[in-house]
Amino acid sequence: MILDNKKPNQEDIFKVPEGYFENFDERLKFIIEPDIISNKPSSKLLDIFKPWIGLAAAFLLIAMVFNFVTKDKIKNQHVSTEIEYSYFEMWADEWSGTYEIYELISDNSVDFDDFDLYPDSLVFKGITDENSIYLSHLDY
């Protein structure tokens, strides 16, 4: 009975191609080699931080674009405010009485839509409370 007799040598039963075991290490190295390269500490570190660097660069770009776009808009708004302010400064020096204000508001050539008049506007400089009430009832 074969099981009780001398055990068959597996190497006699199953053959391997010549040089198989000698070449195995080299063939295995070609499979694992890419992993060995990627496991280098410096490249591994870079791989960890690469996505964060990309994100930071994207945010920086967006911030620069935003800054560039909004800078001009703010500048233009500031200029237009300066123009309106200087306009009223010019007129405020000359107007100091109710008659001058009446003239202004009854002048149909003046388009009040072109500028806004606020209570603290320089146009009303020197107008007393009594006169401002009088002006508010004028039918113009």
Partner: protein
């Protein structure tokens, strides 16, 4: 001369020596693992693929090796699982075929030019193929590799008693098959 497992592990834990340590590991265990796989899958090319897969997994997971068992039993376990998964996949592929895995492997023994055993050895191999996969592993490890039950228990995660019983029944079945010459 091969360094000890402890020396190999020590080398692998040094980043600059990792590759060298792994080379020692491959050199030390490749033949033993190959024959373990070859007896399971019969065909040389399949055994070669499984052996490569085993060492790739060892390389990728060596940092996860906790040292609860010896590195030898750990690698052997990986190889065993590779073989079992391979046979299961083969079984799925042959599901709709009239041939099952055992018939397929048995035919390979008949037709494989790399199988050079005598007729009685051929019959023994065919008898072994009739065993369930895990029992076949137990039989191969005990009968051909003379492995200790304690080591087999660690590799297969099965109690020594269960392994002894499994081996006993495997021997009885193969003896009966050979005596009756069913194959």
């Amino acid at each position: 001369m091969h360094p000890t497992d402890q020396e190999i592990l020590a080398l692998i834990n040094i980043p600059a020596e990792r590759q060298a340590g792994f080379s020692y590991l491959v050199s030390k265990y490749k033949e033993r693992l190959y024959w373990h796989l070859r007896k399971m899958v019969i065909i040389h090319e399949d055994a070669d693929d499984l052996l490569q897969n085993t060492f790739v997994k060892v390389w990728n997971n060596i940092d996860n090796f906790r040292g609860d068992s010896s590195i030898y039993t750990w690698i052997y376990r990986i190889a065993t699982n590779e073989a079992l998964n391979f046979l299961n996949k083969k079984r799925e592929v042959l599901l709709d075929s009239p041939t099952d895995v055992e018939d397929f492997l048995s035919n390979q023994i008949e037709n494989d030019p790399l199988f050079t055993g005598e007729e009685i050895e051929k019959k023994l191999q065919k008898c072994i193929l009739t065993l369930p996969d895990k029992q076949r592993i137990v039989f191969n490890m005990k009968y051909f590799d003379d492995m200790k039950y304690k080591d087999m228990s660690e590799i297969l995660d099965t109690s020594v008693g269960a392994l002894k019983a499994s081996y006993f029944h495997a021997v009885q079945k193969i003896k009966a098959l050979l005596e009756n010459e069913i194959l």
